[in-house]
């Protein structure tokens, strides 16, 4: 039962992160929001692991951490390039690639 309440917390965290992705314009903040979501997933894994009394959940959490770190590092490298080229971190300015139908 306890693990379920942790799961609820994780879910709330996840949705918060999602809301952050939706509302934020700055790429860095979006990355942070995604981190929150990833961590929420991690929490859920830990909760699940706890429920079944297995270490697998925690193992997974470690993998998530590693992966999140690598993702963020690549992400930040790209952010720097974006800033170089666009002089902004506003994600809505990044729309050179889109459909333009010429009839």
């Amino acid at each position: 039962m306890q693990s379920y309440s942790v799961l609820v917390v994780a879910a709330i965290l996840f949705v918060l992160g999602l809301l952050g992705v939706l509302t934020r314009r700055n790429i860095i903040f979006i990355l942070i929001s995604i981190e929150i979501m990833l961590n929420a997933a991690g929490v859920a894994f830990v909760a699940a692991g706890a429920r079944w009394g297995q270490p697998d959940g925690q193992v997974m959490f470690l993998f998530i951490l590693a992966m999140a770190a690598s993702e963020v590092s690549v992400g930040l490298a790209l952010v720097m390039q974006v800033y170089h080229q666009h002089k902004t971190l506003d994600v809505s300015k990044l729309n050179n690639l889109k459909d333009d139908i010429e009839v």
Binding site: I34, L38, D56, M60, S70, Q81, L97
Partner: protein, 481 residues
């Protein structure tokens, strides 16, 4: 870990070594050509080892991996694609005078990720494979950071991929919560004993579908595809279109097979709805597209919609159909991107359709090759694409999934329009000479052309004599079943 298990993993280890070898080569300041050749040889080695260890299969490496015929088949396909992509990459990067060397590290890493996906039987290996694939791809997409909006494409892909990864993880966590194991077969067992699938499982699976759908660019997670295909260098785009999608589709298929998802009515409904929407919007989006890379992206959305139709039956015929379809599709896409790469000028990729006007009269060979590829995408006989589509329809009809099948037929008729549009551009009268500097590396050009010829011959060969490959596929799939 037993000897047999180690032997079974040998190809994957070689694949992993490839990246390290390249790193070492870079450390020793070797040139592009050496790296290219080494990479090529390494990939050949992978295939060789796979052939070498064929007698040890199947092997289950508890709890993460299972190396069976199915995995070997898809890994082989992936390695084959990488071979071709690598070959094409050489002239592309060489012409752009960028430093292309780290590119090979990334591409082999990414390949490793895809290969792991094909043999994973556990959430953890699933997750690791997927992330290995994705993280390398972020960098690959933005590799030519100064041009072509590559960075924009990279950022878009990264944000969305990370977002959907979060969903994947959360979904996995939910399923783990429900089933008490992350092992596919254990989950299947749990699911089997339960009277009806719990909401936790269903929600978990739905969330997982988001990530998978994203990678396969299925509607409504498809919006990135066109932008990324357009922004990424063509070799990378072809890599995404083939290797990444094959890997993810392989794991999805294995997961579904293991869990007997075809018996789960609601999940099947979801998948068929996704398939239908993918077919419709992929084809509709491509209808008037003037950028050939975007067009290929949209067409791939549609094609994975078709593939899902084959996925629906969930029996061996479906797997066989999917395998054949993927082979045909991979060859075709490689040809298409190969042509784009060959035609790309130094500062601009050959992506505007107007560049292709009257290509047939300028470079008949390239034009014919591209036309054959497009006909294959359209599923016209004499090409493997036709047999692929035939397979898919067969699977659909057998399952009497009439709605998706009818949608498939209707949308592929719509799709025909834009393929024909390109073909008619190729054969139109007014020819715009594609200015092309002198060929810097005649050997690699020759090699690329040879690769195209081989691919086209394969495409036609499989189209006319599918009997040459179908038994092979069947045999592979039997291993481990």
């Amino acid at each position: 870990m037993t000897h047999e298990q180690l032997m079974a993993l040998l190809p994957f280890m070689v694949l992993a070594t490839a990246s390290i070898v390249i790193i070492l080569l870079i450390a020793f300041r070797q040139g592009h050509t050496v790296i290219q050749v080494t990479g090529f040889l390494m990939m050949c080695l992978v295939i060789f080892t796979m052939w070498y260890v064929r007698d040890f299969l199947p092997q289950t490496i508890m709890p993460l991996l299972i190396v069976d015929g199915y995995g070997a088949l898809f890994t082989g396909l992936i390695i084959f694609c990488v071979l071709v992509v690598g070959l094409f990459s050489y002239i592309y990067f060489e012409e752009r005078e960028e430093n292309p060397r780290e590119y090979y590290i990334l591409i082999f890493l990414s390949t490793l990720g895809a290969a792991i996906l094909t043999i994973s039987r556990h959430f953890i290996s699933f997750f690791i494979g997927l992330e290995l694939l994705s993280v390398s791809l972020y960098a690959l997409i933005a590799y030519l950071r100064t041009r072509n909006n590559a960075v924009e494409a990279g950022v878009k892909y990264l944000l969305l991929a990370a977002l959907t990864s979060a969903f994947l993880l959360f979904g996995m966590a939910l399923i783990y919560m429900d089933a008490g194991s992350m092992d596919f077969s254990a989950i299947a067992q749990k699911l089997h004993t339960a009277e009806q699938s719990s909401p936790l499982f269903l929600v978990g699976f739905s969330l997982m579908m988001i990530a998978v759908g994203f990678k396969l660019a299925l509607v409504p997670f498809h919006l990135w595809a066109a932008d990324v295909y357009q922004g990424a260098p063509p070799p990378v785009a072809s890599f995404i279109a083939t290797v990444s999608k094959i890997g993810v589709f392989a794991v999805l298929l294995r997961f579904a097979q293991e869990l007997h998802l075809q018996n789960n009515h609601s999940i099947m409904t979801i998948i068929s709805v996704i398939a239908i929407f993918s077919m419709i919007s992929g084809n509709l989006l491509a209808l008037r597209q003037q950028n050939i890379k975007r067009l290929l992206a949209y067409s791939s959305i549609a094609h994975f919609g078709y593939l899902l139709v084959a996925f629906l039956p969930g029996n061996s015929a479906g797997v066989e159909a999917a395998a054949f379809y993927l082979i045909a599709y991979a060859i075709t896409i490689l040809i298409a991107f190969g042509v784009i790469i060959l035609l790309s000028a130094k500062d601009k990729d050959a992506e505007r359709l107007s560049l292709y006007r009257g290509l047939f009269w300028e470079k008949p060979f390239v034009a014919i090759v591209l036309a054959v590829a497009l006909l294959s995408l359209a599923g016209i006989p004499l090409t493997a694409g036709f047999i692929g589509k035939f397979y898919v329809l067969m699977a659909g009809v057998q399952q009497q999934a009439w709605l998706p099948v009818i949608v498939l037929v209707v949308t592929s008729v719509i799709g025909l329009y834009y393929y024909l549009r390109i073909i008619s551009t190729l054969f139109s009268d007014v020819s715009v000479a594609i200015e092309k500097e002198k060929k810097l590396h005649p050997f690699f050009y020759a090699a690329s052309y040879t690769a195209l010829v081989v691919l086209v011959l394969l495409l036609l060969g499989f189209g006319v004599m599918p009997a040459t490959i179908i038994p092979g596929i069947k045999q592979f799939l039997l291993i481990g079943n």
